[in-house]
């Protein structure tokens, strides 16, 4: 198949950006979307032009490195699918694809389609863990966990930290990411002792970096792992309780 690509090129964080047009020719429908970009880059190198920088690593939908806007949609047209898992059979011969980096003030552009998502790490550092030093844990089966809770925690823990939720959100909000980690840890018995401090600390760092949530639901639709916006409601409940408790103990 043959496609036309309009790709955002930007030499560096402070450089002006612009769209460039490239042709992707002779692409096999069985190849992946990123393999298609590899071929375009091979052509560019052949012509002496700098290849397009894009984010990727595992190429199996789990590391959360990849991500770009494809025709205005985070990770492209296929639901529950990270950019690296998209295959060209999803597209039609002759399609024009517009490729842009994640657009959000919380994710500054590094180069071309690459952005800086370190704000996510700051949120986790604020409290996205259970405080237990290595070697001090009791036998694992001393803490029974209801299967239902374990399953719910796993649903939330499936987040890969790609940032599609932020990119898809008109407000550039970080609620889905933050609430997924909170839902995992706050559902499990091990996570109870720090539940409210954790919630307050993470939410506050989130608000420093990202926009506010107005319940548009675009995040859930864009999430390659199907993380549910119900977790946001859970987070809001816990946050209100946290505020109340922490005020009392202050």
């Amino acid at each position: 198949m043959n496609l036309t690509l309009r790709v955002w090129r930007q030499a560096g964080p402070d450089a002006p950006g612009r769209f460039e047009t490239y042709e992707a020719t002779d692409i096999s429908p069985d190849s992946s979307f990123l393999e298609m970009l590899d071929l375009v880059n091979e052509d560019l190198i052949g012509q002496g032009e700098e290849p397009i920088e894009f984010m990727h690593d595992c190429r199996e939908g789990i590391c959360g490195t990849c991500g770009m806007m494809i025709n205005g949609r985070a990770h492209g047209p296929q639901s529950m699918t990270a950019t690296c898992q998209l295959h060209m059979r999803t597209f039609q011969d002759g399609d024009e694809l517009v490729l842009e980096p994640w657009r959000a003030s919380g994710f500054p552009i590094v180069k071309d389609l690459v952005v800086d998502r370190s704000a996510f790490d700051r949120i986790i550092e604020a409290g996205g863990y259970i405080s237990i030093d290595t070697g001090s844990a009791p036998d694992a089966n001393l803490i029974p966990v209801a299967k239902q809770d374990a399953d719910l925690a796993m649903d939330a823990a499936a987040c890969i930290g790609c940032g599609a939720c932020v990119a898809a959100c008109p407000n550039g909000a970080g609620q889905l990411f933050t609430s997924a980690k909170l839902a995992q840890l706050n559902t499990l018995p091990q996570g109870q002792p720090e539940r409210y401090e954790r919630t307050e600390a993470m939410v506050e760092v989130m608000e420093e970096h990202f926009g506010s949530c107005t319940n548009m639901g675009e995040c859930e639709a864009a999430c390659p792992k199907g993380i549910s916006i119900d977790f946001i409601a859970m987070m809001n409940r816990d946050y209100r309780k946290a505020k109340f408790r922490n005020r009392r103990s202050a």
């Binding site: 096999s28 590094v110 009791p138 029974p144 823990a157 499936a158």
Partner: protein, 637 residues
Amino acid sequence: MLDAKTPEGPIETKWENHKFDMKLVNPANKRKFEIIVVGTGLAGASAAATLGELGYRVKAFTYHDSARRAHSIAAQGGINAAKNYHSDGDSIFRLFYDTVKGGDYRSREANVYRLAEVSNNIIDQCVAQGVPFAREYGGLLDNRSFGGAQVSRTFYARGQTGQQLLLGAYQALSRQVKAGTVELHTGLEMLDVVVVDGKAAGIIVRDLNTGEISRHSAHAVVLGTGGYSNAFYLSTMAMSSNVTAAWRAHRKGAFFANPCFTQIHPTAIPSSDEFQSKLTLMSESLRNDGRIWVPKDPDETRAPGDIPEEDRDYYLEVKYPAFGNLVPRDVASRNAKTQVDAGKGVGPLKNGVFLDFADAIGRLGRDAVADKYGNLFEMYERITGEDPYQVPMRIYPAPHYTMGGLWVDYHLQTTIPGLFAIGEANFSDHGANRLGASALMQGLADGYFVLPYTIGDYLAPQLGSTPVDTSASEFDQAEADVKAQVDRFLATNGTRSVDWFHRELGKILWDHCGMERSEAGLEKALSEIPALREEFEQDVRVLGSAETLNSSLEKAGRVADFFELAELMCRDALTRRESCGGHFRVESQTEEGEALRDDDDFAHVSAWEWTGQGSEPVEHREPLEFEYVKLTQRSYK
């Protein structure tokens, strides 16, 4: 001869006693020591977190944009531990025994025993961290049998165990970042180890976004930088996984052990065309319920569902009735190759074998199968466009894990004092073949429970010393070398991309040092690789500048190291004139075509010393003694 410094005494008490015998750094003094940890996968992140908790001052480095992205994340199946929660006869000794046997008797008994011993602590630790392991209805942990084990000792979190364990370690690390004990540097790639007075003194790193090169010194350096399967170009590794940190340490004097011990994983999705960039693994847990077969007739044209039982060859079940589809990885891989080479391959390119779930769906119901493997089935469908609930999956072996790596002693210290290697980056625990669900176990054992203690024994005598000043001439030299290489790549201005060379190198390696190795093939590879490397040096095209993100430039450095490593892999494979585990020399096989070991001549570790490019490396040997596991010909019949 190499001394592994294995402690004396019975194997059950070696580690306990040794922990008592090792020198300690008292808690108040720990903050006087600085430790560099390179890599934030399972091993690196768990080590950095634990060292931080203990009070050391840690600097952790990763080339990823976040410490949550290392390829440990992609491990699907699970993690072994000898908990014996199911009272099915498991024990530390059995896990030890299975690991030594599964590794085809080419690992060090004492290390493996320790690994089995701490396996239980890992599960406790991870559960306490909030890793959402699968549970039974009663709320207790669920287990499954995995990859050739005859007991249920594998803990799992859906098909995303590696992800959940890595996130657990990343979160523990994040907690230390907040506590201020760990300084975390993301987006920085280590390009050299600096050795001063024979000891590791620090590292040189390059900022991948700005190109800035910087120097860092410490009392000790720990490498948790993973394996080298990407030498094959097509592998199950992430695109950026590389050998650079380990290799550059090797060039500075760290011996590289058993580089030819590479694992070809039996259940990857076959490639669909020549531009394929990587191979995707389907968890081997699928072999618990899927049945592997090929049509008996090479010219079979019917759809798989229309082929009657009598025309199918369930070759593993027939040949290995006791283990069936659960034979170890090397055995499963080689048998698939035999079928495909005989023309019985399936799929449009006839390059795979079937992994069929029809029976399991009939027996357990579609929902139960979906519950266990749903995400894997979806992943398969997304890649191939085929629905494995309807048609059997197609699988074929792919380069996966590398058992070889930097040689380390019982303390996980390399031959450079003060330089440690953990996780897949070292060679120590898996011998010639790794069992399923043991990589996560080893990465976390090294990082959480072994290195944080053994490193104290090295540090304790240095109390009162400060790290070498980074203005030392050794740092000048190392930085100049790194810069010179970067400049050379940009100045070459040849005609072919880095990827082109990498792909060509991968083909040579796969053909001659892949699932089967022969003397003639290896000799051929040893003449082709240096020739291609020379072409690479003269004709590679790296565009752009060194001052911004430049992934071709990053790759060029990694591929240069793969060239040198590939030569050593072939040299090692040629020298080891026996078959064992993942290393199959066609000249050394039983009448049934199984790997035939030669214990009289090869029950040793080959640890190679770098002597310069184009000059023959020197082989050092560590003899392996088996006191507790009797050497037998592996048999899975």
